[in-house]
Amino acid sequence: MASISINHTYAGKHVLLTGASGFLGKVWLAMMLDRVPEIGCIHVLIRKKGLRPAVDRFEKMVGSSYAFKNLHERFGEELSAYIAQRVEVVEGDVSLPNFGLEESVAQRLRTQLDLVVNCAGLVDFNPDLRDALGTNVNGGLHAAEFVRSCQDAALLHVSTCYVVGNRSGMIEEEVHANYAPANPDFDSEAEFTDLQQTIDDVTAELESSESEEELKQEVLDKIRRRGLDESNATLIRNMTHRQRQQRLKNRLAEEGERRALAHGWPNTYTYTKSLAESLIARRADGLKYTMFRPAIVESALSYPFPGWNEGFNTCGPLSYLMQTWFRHLPAKAGNPFDVIPVDLVCNAIAIAGAALMLGEHRPAYHCGTSDRNPLTIDRACDLVSLAHRKHLRKSGSSAMERVVLSRLDGVCVEGEHLLSVPNIRSVSRGIVSTLRGLSERVPAKLGKSMDEWASATEQADRQLDVVEKMLDLFRPFIHDNRFVFRCRGFQEHDVEEAAFRFEPESIDWRHYWMNIHIPGLRRWSYPAIEGKRVETYTPEVAFVMPGPNQAQADATATHAKREVG
């Protein structure tokens, strides 16, 4: 087994990182800056947002995210200079060829880069197909093309274990150029062309004169219903535009889902990520690359600190639901639930990147736990219940929460269940129709009360609709398929630095879920689900990214110092 030193391998190397503003990208960036001070430069590709330049976005990210807390505490007022010497913010967009970089910047990077870590990805399960295609497919292809145009760079493409689609059993660390779970004759290039054509066709269809007329009529009806001014041309134009955009978005989201299901993937996300893998593999001639496939990336085990999390993630909504009166999770007991802490994923990216630069890499790496330290969905469900129980018993906001809710555990149920969401919904709809029917036949006062009860039940039904849709999204991962992702690639690399080792066996699941993950989600994810403001980090010394000239001066000074040293 070849030994790898992360510090030595990355020393003086230039790495381009995309998707740095995402959960995974941020932690990896912070970790590398913290633990590999000798790194040459991390060129962080960030999109301009509206009028806001990339540097401003980067500055805000480093200055307000807890992912960079350790760096702030370690360097204090020196942090700006420290980062300026090791980071270059480049404005660009993965969905554009050459990342939309200025030609001079692109040219310079082509000679400088050793590694491109493509972390950018749209992780919504069923987004607008245009967005998914832009980020997940084109993003990957542009990264591959850019790497090929570099003098001596390699590509680490961050994908997902779930590109495997609706399949069960042991999933190997392999890459296929034309992979579709339910279609052995799948042709990735033909699918890519067809996909683009479909988007164009749907767009053209919705912009046709008939469709436009129909849309205008709908808008006028809406304006009348709302009692707005029918002669206001600007209002009509704006509303029509919004309606058209929404309709296009919905149609393309449906189209993405339809194609994904037809080929055997559970959603557009896994379908587009898989398509990107196939296309990169198919066009790989002369390209040094590896597919890095993490499973479900969740709260940090220790870096930047235990429990750090961001956004919804997978466990967020499911575990949040189990803190409410919802109790029956449609999941098949015994199925692995492949959760992997974000900092272990970052270690794994560092290892795979180093192996790639050294030419000792494998074509694909799974980064999960189902093979080496499996956690079943029923155990996860029990641990979530126990973690909520522990919290609510002491910190529940009412006696009801402390005494009753804390003791109502979630359970996994397979198939039809008396208290399943569809069954509850069908009962609630029955109640609504009975109440509405009766309200007309009883005295007016009682009828009014019945209407109010019916409205309240309808509102509850709408909430259940959201829950039902969400459970349907997760169903393939926790109920329908039984995935075990072979995770042996990293065992081929003996990492010298203990802090960078990838050892999923070391996770104590009970401790992780009860004392790290669920408390982390409660702090960072549940407020977002509830639409509340999520806590941001305020460093003692504000972070300011020095201008290019200052950064250049600092960098020169540092390189000189390093050379003298």
Binding site: R327, D382, L383, V411, R510
Partner: protein, 232 residues
Amino acid sequence: MKKTTTVAFVRVEGTLVDRGVLSASVYIASNGQGLTERLLRLGQVALTAPVYGLLGQNDRVLANRLAYVAARGMSEDRLAVLGEEYFEDILQERILDSGMDLLRKAKAAGHKIVLLSEGIEQFTRPLVAHLAETLDIDELPESLVCNVLELRAGEATGRLLDPVVGGHDSGRWASQYAQEHGVDLERSVAYAAHGPDMLLLAAVGNPCAVNPDYTLRRAASQADWPIMEYTL
């Protein structure tokens, strides 16, 4: 080899806390995962309880085995969490002050304290950790001897692993322990509350029956052992 160590063997149930095995098994049963599971487990405990009472004096090993059948199929995770809760909710309030005094005296007399409990590990450890901290005896958790539930694939089978603590074997066990650890039993002490502990008390030079049940009281009177009575 000269035996220099002296030990205070202390039975937890009845001497240090006034809650026993059935209380723990009711807690386990009433906190299973889901309402159906709880009802089934409670039904099981309700059927077991009278048998436990009848067997208590004669075959406490079997009685203990029956009591913990309630944990069958329960996850190791849940048992660990319930053990902590059981201590916080129930046991902490049921610690007997006079029992604590006995431990203090044993410590002051230089005895090594060995706690014997019919409780399962998950339910006894939090109590022992608390006692160790309160009395400042770091080695107390290591010298705990308690029952161990068999676990398979992270779930309790409902079976207690041998040897089961609580039966008539405690006297023989104490002698073996003394041999292995070089303990002078003649200068050692033992505190216990139940009939099956008779042979444990008989094995040491300084036995004491604490809050004894009918059988132990009769035996203590006949053997002229001191009897202590105390409540919460």
